[in-house]
Structures are given as C-alpha cells and as structure tokens.
C-alpha cells in the first residue's frame, strides 16, 4: 500500500503559487526525501499533507484515507515535526511528552512509561523535570522529536528536523528516525541538506517552484548525470581556477576549500591537462581524486534548469 499519495496539489497565497500541480507517492515503509531550494514549496506541501493547511485543489490520501474526509483519524496516526513546531517552554520535557500522549489518547500509565523511555533514548533523562525554556536548541528539538513519536506512528513527517543543530543532536535525531524506519514506519523528510537525504533516503523527490522536477533513488539520479563527473586536486600552492577553465575538456573549475574541483565529461583528458599545467607552472600535486556526480550536483543542475 502507498502511505502517502499526493495528486495535482495546488496552493496559492495571493498571486503566488507556492505549490503548482505537485504529484508524488510514498510507499509504505519507505524513507522518502523531499528536496528543494528555499521557497520551492516543501513546507507548504508538508502542511497540506499533515492537515495543517487545505490545498486549493488536488487530492491527498494518507494511509489509505482521504484527508478531506478523515482529517482527525489521519492526524491520530501520523507524527509530525513541523518546521516551526516548537514545544511548550513553560512545561518540563516530560510534561511536554505526556501532554502529547494525552492528545493521542494514550492511557495514563503507558504514556508515563513511553515518556520515560523516550527521554532516556533521547539523552534527556537527567533533564526531564526541567522546564524546556532552560533547554538548548538541540535539546528542544529532541523533545520535539519525542513528541512526534510518543504514539509510535506508522507515518512520520519531518520538516527540516536537523536544521541548525549541533552534531550530537543531529546524530541522535538521525539515528532515532532511522530506528523508527527499521521498525516499519514510513518516513517523509524535507531537507535541503543533500548529503543527509542521500545517506538516509531510499527515494528523493526534487521540487522547484512548486513543481516536481524528478523523483528517483539518489544512486539512479547520480548515474543519470554522469556528465557531471569531476576531479578534485590539491596543490602545494594556491592556484587560480581560471588556469583550468580555459581548457576545452573542462566544463568549469571552482574552489572547494583548499582544493580545486574541475568538472569534465572526459576525466582522462582532463587529468592529462592538469599534469601539463602542473609541470608548466612548477606546481606539486598533494592529492587528486576523481568523483562521480554528487546529489548536490544533480540538485543544482535540475533546479538551475528550471529557473
């Protein structure tokens, strides 16, 4: 069964169409990513899929139910971590989890047990009775994740869940979400962290200007764009990228930290030219690696094409 089906979704704010005829589906048990630049329509799409906002037109089916006919029943079975969905700062971490448990109708003893377990798993057991207003951003986001998971939903929506978090919180959240997926929950994640999507998602849907650009697995998307291969070279001195971009076999060259990244459709010839330039300029190569296209390259290529 498909856990999420979105058909021809349209949502406009005044004259601006935030979502303009978007269609995609998510299989049950799948880890699915919705990728797009800022303003692509990711958050509006999530808000429509989670019943926070009504689409102007189009159809949404969640876990086999029509969202127009059964919004409360759907919300009862999904967990959501909204983009700006905070937790209550005037309640303690545990009180927040218990409150969410009440909203989902979990019996008293069970919600206490689940709240304690989640606090343990999220590394917040020692701070469980402190008010959330004393928590760091990462700790608040961990509580937010716990609030979305307290009812163990079969479908979880995450809108940029690790945005701006410290490494420890990011890893903890990523691991918890992966664990939910391993246990059978369907995950729909929006992010503009392409590497995160690439690592976690089985399929990604790239959207731009409210439309779906492409939907496929990260690997297949990469292989479609083999022409975006590159060579990353580190020299012993700082080198001007324009040295390479004038070569006919080089599509473009750009700085990548202390390295130069040279995009080419013909790595063999490009390496020969790099060696020739190195000798001519008296440079020394510290390291060199040939790279396939990253999901970021694919993303940039696809979203650029639609601009």
């Amino acid at each position: 069964m498909q856990a999420v089906v979105a058909e021809d979704l349209v949502k406009a704010f005044g004259q601006t169409k935030a979502v303009n005829g978007m269609s995609f589906y998510v299989e049950e048990g799948e880890f699915f990513g919705l990728l797009g630049p800022n303003g692509a329509g990711k958050t509006t799409t999530i808000r429509m899929l989670t019943g926070v906002m009504r689409p102007d037109s189009g159809r949404i089916r969640i876990l086999g139910m029509d969202i127009r006919k059964s919004p409360l029943e759907i919300k009862q079975r999904v967990g959501v971590i909204p983009e700006v969905g905070n937790v209550y700062p005037d309640l303690t971490g545990k009180e927040n989890l218990v409150l969410m448990g009440r909203f989902y109708g979990i019996p008293a003893r069970e919600r206490e047990e689940r709240a304690d377990r989640l606090l343990q798993e999220l590394g917040l057991a020692e701070r469980s009775d402190d008010f959330v207003k004393s928590y760091s951003k990462g700790m608040r986001q961990r509580i937010s994740i716990g609030c979305a998971m307290i009812h163990e939903p079969p479908l979880l929506f995450l809108d940029e869940p690790t945005e701006g978090l410290d490494v420890q919180s990011r890893r903890m959240i990523t691991e918890k979400v992966k664990q939910m997926n391993r246990k059978g929950s369907t995950i729909l994640l929006t992010t503009h962290n392409i590497e995160e999507a690439s690592r976690m998602c089985q399929r990604v849907c790239i959207i731009n200007k409210g439309r779906v650009v492409v939907t496929d697995s990260p690997e297949r998307l990469r292989s479609t764009f083999e022409g975006l291969r590159s060579i990353e070279v580190a020299f012993d001195k700082k080198v001007d990228c324009s040295l390479f971009s004038s070569e006919s076999c080089v599509a473009r060259a750009e700085e990548a930290g202390d390295k130069v990244r040279i995009y080419t459709a013909d790595p063999d010839e490009a390496i020969e030219r790099i060696i020739a330039i190195k000798e001519k300029k008296g440079l020394k190569i510290i390291s060199m690696a040939t790279l396939g296209p990253s999901l970021e390259d694919v993303f940039v290529k696809l979203t650029e094409g639609k601009k």
């Binding site: 704010f13 808000r47 989670t50 019943g51 926070v52 906002m53 009504r54 919004p71 409360l72 029943e73 919300k75 009862q76 999904v78 959501v80 909204p82 983009e83 700006v84 969905g85 905070n86 937790v87 209550y88 700062p89 005037d90 309640l91 009180e95 409150l99 969410m100 009440r102 909203f103 989902y104 109708g105 937010s144 609030c147 929506f157």
Partner: protein, 250 residues
Amino acid sequence: MNYPLVARGVYVTARKDMRIYYRKAPVFIFGLILPTFLFLAFFVGRSLDIHTYFPGFLAMSLFFTASSVGPLIIPWEKQQGTFERLLTLPVNIPILVLGDTLAGAGFGLIITLIVFTVGALFLPLAIPIGMILALPLFFIVGNVCFASLGVLLSSPAGRVPANIMMLAALVRFPLIFISGIFVPLSQLTGSALAVTLFSPLTYLVDGLNGSMGGTAIMPLWLDLLVLLGFTLAFLLVASWTLERRALRGL
C-alpha cells in the same frame, strides 16, 4: 464526525491551557486587578446601595475574568511556535476554539464563585428559592459566553500577545459602560436602553439581577437564550476567522 476524538481534543486543549495560561501575568492584570480597581473607583467614598449594584459588579468581574484568558492563548502559541504543532495533532480549529473557551470559562467560574461567596458572606443576599438553579446557570452560560468572546478577540491575532490584550481591553471597556453595571437597567429608558440591548453583558447583568431577587427588565429565559445565541455566534466567528487565517498561511 468522530465525537470521542472531538471530546478528547477539547478536554486536553482546555487542560493544557489551564496548566500554562492561568499563571500568566496578563491574565491577572486584565482579569483580576483591573475589575477590582474599577469596583473601588466606583464605590469608595460614595453612599451607594451595594445590594442594588452587587449583581452588576458580579457580572463585571465574571466578564473580565472569563474574557481574559482567551485573548492570550492563540497569540502566545503563535509566538512560541506551538500553534502549528497543535494543528498537526488530532485536533482542528473548532476543537481548539472550544478548548480555549472552556479554559477561559473555568478561570471565570472560579473567580465568580470566590466573588459571590465573599459577597454572600458580607451582604445578606436574599436569593429567592425559585432562583437557586437560575444563578449557577447564569454563572456557567455567562462564563462560556465571555470566554468565547475572549477567544474571538484573539482570532484575527498576529504573534504579539500584548497587542491583543490592548485590543481586548479596548473592546471590553466600552461594554461595561453600556450594560447596566453603573446605572441599573431598570432606570434606563429610550436610546440609552436601546444601546444596552446590543451588549451581551446586558443580558448577564439582567439575569443576575433577576436571579438575586432584584428587578429584571426581561424574562430570565430570554436573557439565557440571548447569551447562548451570542456564545454560538462568537464561537462560529472565531473558528471562521482562524480557519481563514490558516488558509492564508500560519
């Protein structure tokens, strides 16, 4: 409609509001301190018959306290970013409106009962036997009505609670002057009486007057019916306004 889900949503929302918002400073300032000062400003140093004015002052305290919680909740939730999370839970906007109303009414009811008890201790109130049921009915309906007015006042709100509390004060103040609190309704005639009929507070003042053995200008059942009508209108308009705002973005 899934009634158990709706009932649970209303109950948990109200409980959450009671836990979080009853202790907020604006609720105390606009709900308790302000009506107390109004009472003192009107009464101290004047030889007024407290028996005549007590139902009016009770209505005023009920009105201020019941309508003080509602204006705070939604702007506060929007400011904290919890409003969007609430909408992802198994609730919808009418459920939130009902829950917030219930919380406001609860606060109003507690304070009304305290004021009434203090009044009953110091004043020999002569409540007719036949009105024993009418009085609690007016307490409940009045509190629900003005709590829903509080929610309505916050429904077109942005994210700054202070702005809405000011707006709410601007709406609430004129009402107390045109509702027979400072001038008994039975002494009003002509256009002054006609103006009072547009205020929902008039029907509570009249109902409490009648229930506490004073002179009511309308039958009590009519007062109750009008209060219920206002309640329904406030709830519907609050839900409609919030839904409209949600459609345009949160």
